[in-house]
Structures are given as C-alpha cells and as structure tokens.
Symmetry: C3
Subunit: 160 residues, 3 copies
C-alpha cells in the first residue's frame, strides 16, 4: 500500500469552462507531484475530450445531433457564471494568458503529457449518441460505473 | 477492515435532472458491485425523495409553500444545461428509453431495491419547511452533518 | 494514524449562496465533532472570504475590476436556483432566522471560531486579480494545488 502511488480521481460531469479548468488544474497539479490521476468524463464533461471540430452535428439521430451541435467542444464551453453569450470564457482566456496562468487548452495538453488517464462514461455516450471515435485519441477507454469505482479505489474521488 | 463492505456516500445537493441521474447511476452501480451506499439529500436534492404528488403547496408557511410548489418533485426537475422550459429532461427521458438506459425514476426504484440508504438533511428540511412525511417512505432517517459524517466514515464521499 | 484527527477538506469553488451554506454547514458540523477542517477557496468561492466592503472595483486592471464588482462578497451572492435577482438569498436568510438555523454569515463566524482552516487558491487569485489583503484576515495562506493535496491527504475531500 505504502509503495503504491497516491491516487486522485475526478468525475468531470460539468461542461462549464471554469469547472473544466478546475478539473485540469487539479489533475495536472496532482500528476506533477506524482499522483496517479484518473478523469472520468460524463454528460456535459464529455465536451472536453471531443475532437476539435467545432460545433458539428455528430451523434446517431436527430436529437443527439442537436446535443452534438450545442455541446460544441472545449473552445465553445460557457462559464458557470457571467457567461454573457460566450464573452466570459474569452475574458478568462485573456486573463489567464496575461497572468501567465495556463489556459484550459494548455492544461488539457499538459494533463496528457503528464500521463493523466482519461476515460469516457459509457452510459452518457449512449444517451448523447457519442462514439469513442468522436473523442481525442488520448482517451484510454470507455467505462461503466463499476470499473471506474475499481480503478479509483484507494484514493480520493471528487465530482466536479 | 478488509472484512467490511466498501462504502460510497453521496451528498445529493442538486435538484437538476442530470445531476440526480448521476447520483442514482453512481449509487446503483456501486450497490450492484457490493458497496454500502448512502445518499444524503439536502437542499434542492430533497426533490428527488418527495412523494409523487406533482407540484403542491407543502410546507409550513407562505414562503416554504412557494418553495414546495417550485420544487415539484422528481418528474419536474430541470436539467442543469439546455433545460428549455422543461424540454431538456423530456428529451433525456426519451433518449434514455430509446437507448435502453434506465430513466431517473427507474434508477430510484433500483437504488431502493439494491438497499441504498436514503437520508434527508435535517437542516435543509427546517429551512424549506419539509417533514419526513413529505418524503417517500424508503427514506430511512433525517440526519444532521455529524451523524452523516459518522455513517460515511471510512469510505469515499462525493458532493453532487 | 488512529491518534490523528479525522480530516475533512472542502474545495469551495461555487459562489452561490446555497452552496456556500453547504460548505460552511459541513465545515462547522465536522469541526464541532473534532475533525480538522480545511477549506480551499477558488474561483467564485473566493467571494466568501472577501472583506465586507460590498461591491467594489478591486483588482489590478479593467477586466479584473469588473469581476471584482460583479463578485461583490458574501452578502450579495446569488442562489444556484430561484435567485430572482437577489430575492432568493433574502428569502433563505429570512427562513433560516425564522427556523433558528444559522445564517451564512453566522456559519462563517462559527467556522473561524471552531478553528476551520481557510485557504485561498493562488491561481484563481492571479486570474481574478485578487491579493491576500482583499480577504478577511482569518485566511491563513494562499496555496497551489500541490500544497492543498498535501494538507488534505489522509482524509475526505469534496468539491462544492
């Protein structure tokens, strides 16, 4: 037990720019000091791992295509407060660059470089009509709850 | 310690359809693989365990009656994103049925069947003017923070 | 290990009145039964530890000043649901007083009195242009993720 790496697991449920920033800040911060980090993307959080294509009508049927369009990927995510039709995230990006804080896109890249494990939630993919090929190839696997609980056992788990 | 059941405890704060779906998906998934699961419903989350009466003016005084009306129970909960005046949850329910994913109501039933422990937060009940008799009878008890921390000790706890 | 105090650590990300109430209810409840409690304020949650000055244009430049104004401190925080342009928190405060439940401001005082450790997130302070002198003096320190993970190691951590 004492030989094992410490673990931090995050359930990334939210698709908000600021909450996703929190997910990746925690993930990269923990990975940098030696934690095994697992992120389990579900519901709106799946937006963070979509391939950069902008808004597009992916998904199997009419309704999931609509969701596919509305959830347009990382660079069009809103902030949970003060979004102002997309101005909020732009201001954040500007402030982050200006203050030498890594932007969300840079944090995602850093997480991948630091070996953070990215997983997608099977159930949410079914509901939203998403396939693993819609995600960036760094996504390791699609999981159900039971497997996620097993992987994250013995460490802390947060729901964001 | 190794003899004891693993524990998963969830604080269900949100009354959003999608977040409550996450609560019950985690709860049933964990219970199915042998975890002891405790859900502590507080604030808007109390909506999930109200008796199915639809919107009604329960609660002791004028203001709590208003809350009682606005929080109309599980089947009128909104989604945290793309709610569109109640269309969001309807679309989700449709997609869940279509894709053979359990709907929220089915998940609640499954949780009860799997022996998930449901608790209500005493403090939030005081604020919102709710009594235990307003809830489904599967709710085991009303608790304060100290008792909840004791029950959930030794396992993971997430705030949703 | 058995000699050590139990630990509860909370990442206070949200600036919503009701979620901050949850943060401080958990914190004071846990501290009252002997837990070591750490709260790490980040993003909108930083609003909870600002000095009581009301809305003011603190922050280094034009954009952060705007954020400084919009995040006007504890007594102007909105509720996550049914805010109605600030009426929501007023109703909650009224219901809490009426039902002898501690109000948010009383909970913050109680947390300080019970020795709850308050920390501010370094990164979010950079982004929002806040300095430690903008916070109440009970805030112990400003931390990065790595230090927070170290402090909170060995106990439960929740993201609120």
């Amino acid at each position: 037990m004492s030989e094992e790496k410490k673990k931090l697991s995050l359930i990334a449920f939210s698709g908000d720019f600021d909450k996703l920033t929190a997910v990746f800040t925690l993930a990269t911060g923990a990975a940098a000091v030696g934690y095994q980090v697992n992120i389990f993307f579900t519901f709106w959080g799946l937006d963070a791992i979509k391939q950069k294509k902008g808004r597009s009508f992916i998904g199997g049927n009419f309704l999931t295509k609509i969701f596919g369009f509305m959830m347009g990927g990382l660079h069009v995510t809103p902030t949970s407060r003060f979004n102002f039709w997309g101005l909020g995230p732009k201001i954040f990006r500007y402030l982050m660059r200006k203050n030498n804080v890594a932007t969300l896109e840079e944090l995602v890249e850093a997480a991948v470089a630091l070996g953070v494990n990215l997983y997608a939630c099977e159930m949410a993919m079914h509901v939203l009509g998403l396939k693993q090929s819609d995600f960036i190839h760094e996504v390791k696997d699609t999981l159900g709850v039971a497997t996620f609980l097993e992987i994250s056992e013995g460490g802390r788990t947060m729901f964001i």
